[in-house]
């Protein structure tokens, strides 16, 4: 909402600087988003009179002028090249230091600053300007000659009437009362504890004709139209509006159209009451009927667009046809034209819901619908109509027909709300006196009368404030005018100590671990396209009204969107991608739901490794990542968060997305998987390289206890023995390790594979595996004999079980 400072002054004498006013408006909730100083670009330009014109001694085309700029220092000498300069003209002079908005001699017209110049030996102290140079019209044929009555010395901005300031206010949806100048004046009055006044005007009615004789109004839908008023103005001349009116409208951001439309717009921006002017002669039977549209009917609005109506829209009709969509936009068929002689002026109150629905459905957002939707004052209607009629008569030369048709079957009355001082102060944490509360309310035209109960009032809220419905709304009014800054910033309230719960702590430590171990955290989209989503799941959650088909499905797997990220980075030159995300996966379910029945939301950790294993370095040979990078990563992660004594890996887990898949189990509960993305999956994201993926269900992970307990370690020495076997490649190292552990018994404290190779010397289809075995007893030092026997039984078992050959002990 743009508010003109000059316009505001019509209702209240602010008498404060623009900056202070802006700051105060913001402090009561009318946020000033910007301040536009309209006169600023004309600073340094004044109205002047040419008092002497002489030929320039050294140039035929130039003249030496003397101009009176109204300065007590006397006239200025200015060299002027314009052909039309003459003695006695009133002109616009730019003084030294003024910035000329448009440089006629510069191809791009860049502004320039006037300096004292010597032109062909003659001093020049300023410039007589053309209209083009000032940016007020395109005329550059000569200097701009003003009206002979222009007063010498007047600042140009004042002369042009543009010495105004426009405030761009961000009006919150609860304050429709501030969508007009009087509404803002009301808050300004409350801020400065001053009085504001309604506009003074005189409505002269033509007693010879009564409106009831020449027009009729009927409301068929009183729910959506509680009030409708009409006036008629005859013998109007439609033309351009006077300058003052055009100027104010432009400052407030509206384009002037003609005097009648401008007058209705002016009154709307004055009182907040939208008005509509019909060409009376185009109204069949000179009748207005307010009723719903017929289903299937077509209607063309002022802007030339044709709308298909459903029948729910409230329409203004004449004796035959619709002429306007109530509260939204007028029709082309009854528009004011140059030939209009008689005007029927509508001022009405339409229900916010009805206007909102219609405007929304038809996709129209007009100044009128904007105000009706939010709620105007139903009791300002007749006043605004009278004001508009008077103004139309004044600027069109027309005559207002006697009387008003005012159908208002059920008067909307001010609300009465009880307010207790104790509530005000307990909610605000303040100590505001009853007297101050009363004063603040009264400054907002909310009358308050004491109740029997002490420090308690009955407040009568004007109908201009539909947002005030209960006590808390009055408390807000008190707070806003009392000043948020005058309420203490209380920090002494009792502090409840808390520590984040253990789920939060565990997820945080997972995140920290991933970062500490060189992974980049990513945050990916939650919505993807259906065909991608289908690769991951059948139980998809679909958005009914997506932005586009690419963003239709809530991701069923983090892998889907992480692969998009991997692809994006490969396309941008990355070669090493080690990333993780903590986010949600969504699916539908027929049974239960995480929060809402039927919807599963799972918190998941996803890790993707792809490309180079190492950063480029002089000391490490580069290699491609493989499965064991991600397997090791997950095992290390689980150990780091204390989930280390579970047997949590099983192989060949079924997965539609990955191959070489390893299931992760903790205490026999499935918590996730590790694997390599199937090449066809990666390819569908245009990724050529291998992508290794691990996913852990964090909702499960947080459930496991990790109470740490000290376990006594052996006081006796540990013996480490290495054994190497040659076995068939088909035998997994995991199986061998299992056998070693089970045969060795509890004296085996660790079994570590430390060498693995294949080679011709081992024979076709064979591999060499070497284990480092730690042997130790909690009770005693093991004798050499005992150790030998343990090793021997291990060797025997492995050799027999796997048909292995012992390479070395």
């Amino acid at each position: 909402m743009r508010i003109s400072y000059n316009w505001l002054q019509r209702y209240i004498n602010v008498n404060d600087s623009v900056e202070n006013l802006a700051q105060k408006l913001t402090s009561v909730g009318l946020e000033v988003e910007s301040v536009d100083y309209l006169g600023k670009k004309f600073e340094g330009f004044v109205v002047a009179e040419v008092i002497d014109v002489q030929k320039h001694p050294n140039a035929d085309r130039l003249r030496m002028c003397k101009v009176n700029v109204g300065s007590k220092d006397g006239p200025l000498q200015i060299v002027c090249g314009a052909p039309n300069v003459e003695i006695g003209q009133k002109v616009i002079v730019g003084l030294i230091g003024a910035i000329v908005p448009h440089n006629q001699h510069d191809p791009t017209g860049k502004p320039f600053t006037l300096i004292k110049a010597t032109i062909r030996g003659v001093d020049s102290f300023g410039m007589i300007c053309s209209a083009k140079e000032l940016g007020i019209s395109e005329d550059s044929s000569g200097i701009k000659v003003l009206d002979p009555n222009a007063k010498v010395g007047t600042a140009l901005a004042d002369y042009l009437g543009v010495n105004d300031v426009a405030f761009e206010l961000g009006i919150t949806p609860n304050r429709p009362d501030c969508l007009c100048h009087i509404g803002v004046a009301r808050d300004v009055a409350a801020i400065y504890k001053k009085k504001y006044s309604f506009p003074q005007y005189k409505l002269t009615e033509n007693k010879k004709t009564s409106i009831t004789k020449i027009a009729t109004v009927k409301i068929e839908n009183v729910i959506d139209c509680p009030r409708y008023t009409a006036r008629v103005i005859q013998n109007v001349t439609v033309k351009e509006s006077p300058d003052w009116l055009k100027q104010l409208l432009m400052t407030a951001g509206l384009r002037p159209i003609n005097n009648i439309v401008d007058a209705t717009n002016f009154v709307m921006l004055e009182y907040g009451q939208p008005l509509h002017a019909f060409d009376y002669e185009n109204l069949a039977k000179h009748t207005i009927v307010v009723k719903n549209a017929s289903a299937g009917e077509q209607f063309t609005t002022l802007d030339g667009k044709t709308h298909q109506l459903k029948g729910t829209e409230l329409m203004i009709c004449d004796g035959k046809k619709p002429v306007a969509i109530a509260g939204v936009m007028g029709g082309l068929n009854s528009e004011i034209s140059e030939n209009t002689k008689t005007v029927l002026l509508e001022a009405a109150y339409f229900s916010p819901t009805s206007v909102r629905k219609t405007a929304k459905r038809l996709g129209i957002n007009s100044d009128a619908s904007y105000r009706f939707e939010r709620g105007i004052d139903p009791n300002i209607t007749a006043e605004a109509s009278a004001r508009a009629a008077s103004l139309i008569a004044e600027i069109t030369g027309g005559e207002v027909v006697q009387g008003i048709i005012d159908l208002y079957p059920k008067k909307i009355v001010p609300k009465k709300i009880t307010l207790k001082r104790s509530r005000v102060n307990s909610i605000l944490g303040s100590d505001i006196s009853s007297k101050e509360i009363k004063n603040i309310l009264s400054s907002l035209e909310i009358k308050s009368a004491p109740r029997k109960e002490k420090n308690s009032f009955v407040c009568v809220v004007p109908t201009s404030r539909p947002d005030i419905e209960q006590e808390i709304d009055l408390i807000e009014e008190v707070a806003r005018i009392y000043g948020y800054d005058n309420i203490e910033n209380k920090t002494s309230s009792e502090v409840m100590f808390s520590k984040p719960d253990k789920d939060e702590v565990r997820i945080n430590s997972i995140r920290q671990w991933c970062v500490a171990n060189g992974l980049n955290e990513v945050l990916t989209n939650s919505l993807i396209d259906r065909s991608t989503a289908k690769m991951f799941s059948e139980n998809l959650v679909t958005v009914k009204n997506p932005l586009s088909v690419d963003l239709e499905i809530l991701r069923p797997s983090l892998l889907a969107t992480m692969l998009q990220t991997i692809a994006y980075n490969y396309n941008h030159g990355a070669t090493r991608l080690h990333v993780f995300e903590i986010g949600r996966e969504f699916s539908i379910s027929t049974e239960k739901g995480t929060y809402l029945k039927g919807y599963i939301e799972k918190n998941v950790l996803g890790i993707c490794l792809s490309g180079d294993a190492n950063q480029l370095s002089w000391s490490e040979k580069q290699r491609n990542l493989d499965l064991f990078d991600i397997k090791g990563l997950i095992l290390s992660l689980l150990k780091s968060i204390g989930l280390d004594n579970s047997d949590f890996i099983y192989y060949n887990a079924p997965s539609s997305l990955t191959e070489m898949t390893i299931g992760v189990e903790i205490n026999n509960t499935y918590v996730g998987f590790i694997g390599r993305c199937k090449p066809e999956l990666a390819k569908s994201f245009k990724i050529e390289k291998e992508v290794f993926y691990a996913e852990l269900n964090l909702d499960q992970i947080v459930k496991f206890d990790t109470v740490k307990k000290f376990k006594e370690f052996s006081k006796y020495p540990t013996v480490i023995r290495d054994v190497a076997f040659v076995v068939s490649k088909t035998i997994s190292v995991g199986e061998i390790e299992k056998v070693i552990r089970s045969v060795g018994g509890e004296e085996i404290t660790s079994v570590t594979l430390f060498d693995l190779f294949e080679g011709k010397s081992l024979g076709e289809g064979n591999k060499s595996v070497a284990y480092s075995i730690s042997i130790n007893s909690a009770e005693k030092t093991l004798t050499d004999g005992k150790i030998e026997s343990i090793i021997k039984s291990i060797v025997n078992a492995v050799v027999t079980k796997f048909n292995a050959n012992l390479r070395s002990i």
Partner: protein, 337 residues
């Protein structure tokens, strides 16, 4: 004769010495001159053949040559040894260290983690809720009028007629107030959605941190104090701030908090749209209708709520122009944080 041989040998040695640079060369030199079958030894052999009276003279001469030769040999040997040792010990310490790969937090989680930390230290717990939310929690219980624009298809993603992608984390407030005994004092971080065309300034999802405190005697003054404490911890103790009355359906009185633009320090710039202020959060007293919807008597308890956008704040903190860069997840971007 012998005299000539001695001077020849001296000349030869003089010539050879400077060419010796390695132990191998030195060894060759030793064999040629100093060994038992070397040239010096043969001089001694010849000495036997000179007349006796001349023997002491020549003997002295040869001895002199031998001494010089041996001294020179030692000198060269220690020089070569020194070079070798030096070569063995010298390491180019300008070689890069073996770097651990750098991991990074996403800037938005970083912002949210910092916010969480401050509120936790102020006695707030942390709560999460669903991203797929029903109309009741997302709108109705939060006092949105049935025809509120936010409930339109144009602003909200719908899963079903009464199921939406939550448009804020505020519905978690309802869940917490309904399921927990008072007092409740929690923050509610998470991802939220708006049906909004993606541009440099807006994305269809973003991240919010909401806060709630409901108890007996919670006041607007407590809210202001909490917000100031947070802002000073999060943005710096020297920031200037202001509170403006504002409007949200679920709070009343409502406020928005601005802090002085950290780019221009309040002078006005592109980021703050020349105003010198940056809006950083919205807040207010929990609306009595909301308390009633959650089964609380607004005459007996009161509460405050606040909410802030982590994406927007991250944009301002890191001087980012285009919000979309957060979700491209370009490694070159991520590595900057």
């Amino acid at each position: 004769m012998l005299e000539k041989k001695i001077s020849d040998l001296q000349a030869e040695v003089e010539k050879l010495l400077p060419t010796i640079s390695s132990m191998d060369d030195l060894e060759k030199f030793r064999i040629e001159f100093l060994s038992r079958s070397g040239k010096l030894a043969s001089l001694y052999e010849e000495l036997k053949t000179v007349p006796n009276d001349q023997k002491p003279l020549f003997g002295q001469k040869i001895n002199g040559v031998k001494k010089t030769l041996e001294a020179q040999f030692e000198m060269i040997r220690s020089a070569i040894n020194a070079t070798a040792t030096k070569q063995k010990n010298e390491i180019d310490i300008s070689l890069p260290g073996r770097m651990r790969p750098k991991g990074t937090h996403h800037p938005i989680t970083q912002t949210m983690e910092e916010m969480k930390e401050i509120f936790v230290s102020m006695g707030f717990g942390i709560e999460y809720g669903p991203e797929i939310e029903d109309d009741y929690h997302n709108f109705e219980a939060l006092n949105f009028a049935p025809n509120h624009p936010a409930r339109d298809m144009q602003d909200t993603f719908f899963i079903k007629d009464d199921v939406v992608l939550r448009t804020h984390t505020t519905p978690v407030q309802i869940r917490v107030m309904k399921s927990r005994p008072l007092p409740v004092r929690v923050i509610m971080p998470g991802r939220v959605y708006r049906n909004e065309a993606v541009s440099a300034r807006a994305n269809y999802f973003f991240h919010q941190v909401d806060g709630l405190y409901v108890d007996k005697h919670v006041s607007f003054a407590d809210l202001k104090g909490t917000l100031v404490t947070f802002a000073k911890n999060f943005y710096g103790s020297d920031i200037k701030y202001r509170f403006r009355p504002s409007y949200f359906p679920f709070t009343e009185p409502s406020l928005e908090m601005d802090i002085t633009c950290f780019l221009c320090k309040g002078k006005g710039c592109r980021i703050c749209k020349q105003s010198g202020w940056l809006e950083v959060l919205g807040a207010g007293m929990v609306h009595p209708n909301v308390l009633r919807n959650c089964g609380h008597d607004p005459e007996k308890v009161s509460g405050y709520a606040f909410g802030m956008g982590a994406d927007r704040i991250s944009i301002l903190r890191y001087g980012i122009d285009d919000i979309r860069i957060f979700f491209d997840n370009d490694i070159r971007f991520l590595n900057q944080f």
